[in-house]
């Protein structure tokens, strides 16, 4: 019995290896029980859920990669966009039709970013690539859209007096809200810019770690990581700017009045 899988992936654990890693769950449970944190049951449920979810996703991806082809993969990405739109839309309560705003914004971020990478042949247009890369892009676009919608919904309430002061000077709604829209967009981008700044210094990023574990040469692995970092930044920027513009236009009526939003 070996805990490492034999074959082409030198560092991938076998199922025996996965079983052995349950010892780590035992360690965690021991800590939370000993410290009387009342989290023992939650840890067990979380760990069981994780393995069930991952086995299901793994099996589904297996089918997707072998049978569904590119259309099936794009459908998968579209499904991820729908989930992302629900999550990000929920952050924008107070912005009318925020889920639709989020769906359009995330789609824009994904199409622009993934489209460019495929058209420029930076990545292969095959399911094994499109699905995981698409997942990363959707995740980044969702994160950016969530932050933008959250901040815009907040600003429409907290900065109401400033916005109305600008409207009262005869400024159109887009200009009256522009400083607040830019603040929201800046907040969304700053986290990702910081990540790009510190990449490799604070932690090794996911894509690169995965390639290293799969036995890829480090200088080859960083090529992928560079593309991933720039891709995530662009996904946040495109989704964020679309979300911010759509959301801010929905806060005003035809007479350039700030709607009474529900915070």
């Amino acid at each position: 019995m070996t805990l490492l899988a034999s074959g082409t992936h030198p560092s991938v654990p076998s199922w025996w290896g996965v079983a052995a890693s349950v010892l780590l769950v035992v360690v965690t449970v021991a800590v939370v029980v000993r410290e009387q944190l009342g989290l023992g049951r939650e840890v067990l449920v979380a760990c069981v859920r994780a393995i069930v979810q991952l086995v299901a996703v793994g099996a589904l991806l297996g089918v997707l990669f072998t049978r569904a082809g590119l259309p099936g993969s794009l459908l998968w990405v579209a499904g991820m966009v729908a989930v992302g739109a629900r999550v990000a839309g929920g952050r924008g309560r107070g912005v009318p039709r925020s889920t639709w705003v989020a769906a359009i914004a995330i789609t824009a971020g994904v199409v622009a970013t993934l489209g460019l990478l495929v058209v420029a042949q930076v990545i292969d247009a095959q399911p094994r690539v499109v699905v995981p890369v698409g997942g990363m892009v959707v995740s980044a676009a969702t994160r950016g859209t969530s932050v933008v919608l959250l901040r815009i919904a907040e600003q429409s309430v907290t900065a109401r007096r400033q916005i109305e002061a600008r409207l009262a000077l005869g400024l159109p709604a887009a200009l009256a809200f522009a400083p607040h829209r830019r603040t929201a967009l800046r907040t969304a981008l700053v986290t990702d810019i910081d990540q790009v700044k510190t990449v490799g210094l604070i932690s090794l990023p996911g894509a690169m770690t995965g390639l290293l574990l799969a036995g890829v040469d480090p200088l080859t692995a960083i090529r992928y990581q560079v593309v991933v970092m720039y891709m995530l930044l662009s996904a946040v920027a495109v989704a964020g700017v679309v979300a911010s513009r759509l959301a801010s236009s929905r806060l005003f009526d035809d007479a350039q009045r700030l709607l009474e939003t529900v915070a």
Binding site: R161, Q162, E164, A165, R166, L167, A168, L169, G170, L171, P172, A255, Q256, R257
Partner: protein, 221 residues
Amino acid sequence: MLVLEDVCVVRGTTTVLSDVSAVLATGRCTAIAGPSGAGKSTLLRLLDRLLEPTSGRVTFHGAPLPSYDVLELRRRVGLVQQAPVLLAEDVLADLRVGRPGLTPDEAAALLARAGLEGLPMDRETSSLSGGEAQRLCLARALAVGPEVLLLDEPTSALDAVAAQSVERVVRSLVADGLTAVLVSHDLRQARRLADDVVVLRGGRVVESGPASTSQYLAGAS
């Protein structure tokens, strides 16, 4: 001239204004007076379309407000809010929010008109006193060349000295021919500044006419 004709404003299940009719004459200062919650600020917000009446209509020089381009209307009917709202980091930038091409000379003239002669253009707005900040808001509203100035309790957030400085500016603007609509719960202030008065109570007009003969304002003495 701004005229309200049978204006009602209903928000949810609450009637904020009910069958309000009033004439706000050109070149005069009209005070909208009444106790808290009477609907004074709501009435003011109708006049530059920051709020729409549920029924009835508001006219400006005989034409209904929606017949005007709303951005042009708001340039002709300016608003100064209750507490000073500053929109930029320094004085000149704040004055330029509504009129980006404002020259420093024009800005200086506006500041003088608002009783802020000599205020440095690069002074940070965060360092201004309450009275200075409110007069800067007045100057900023004047920068876009309004015919009417709506003043929503412009001195309620200020101390007595700062309030007097703002009152002096309002008085001189009206003397120069500007139309002013002043919301105030301070009856003495309304008597000092207003030519006419519209008194609201529970969302209804209970008195309107010259301030000098107002029974409601007489209660201030």
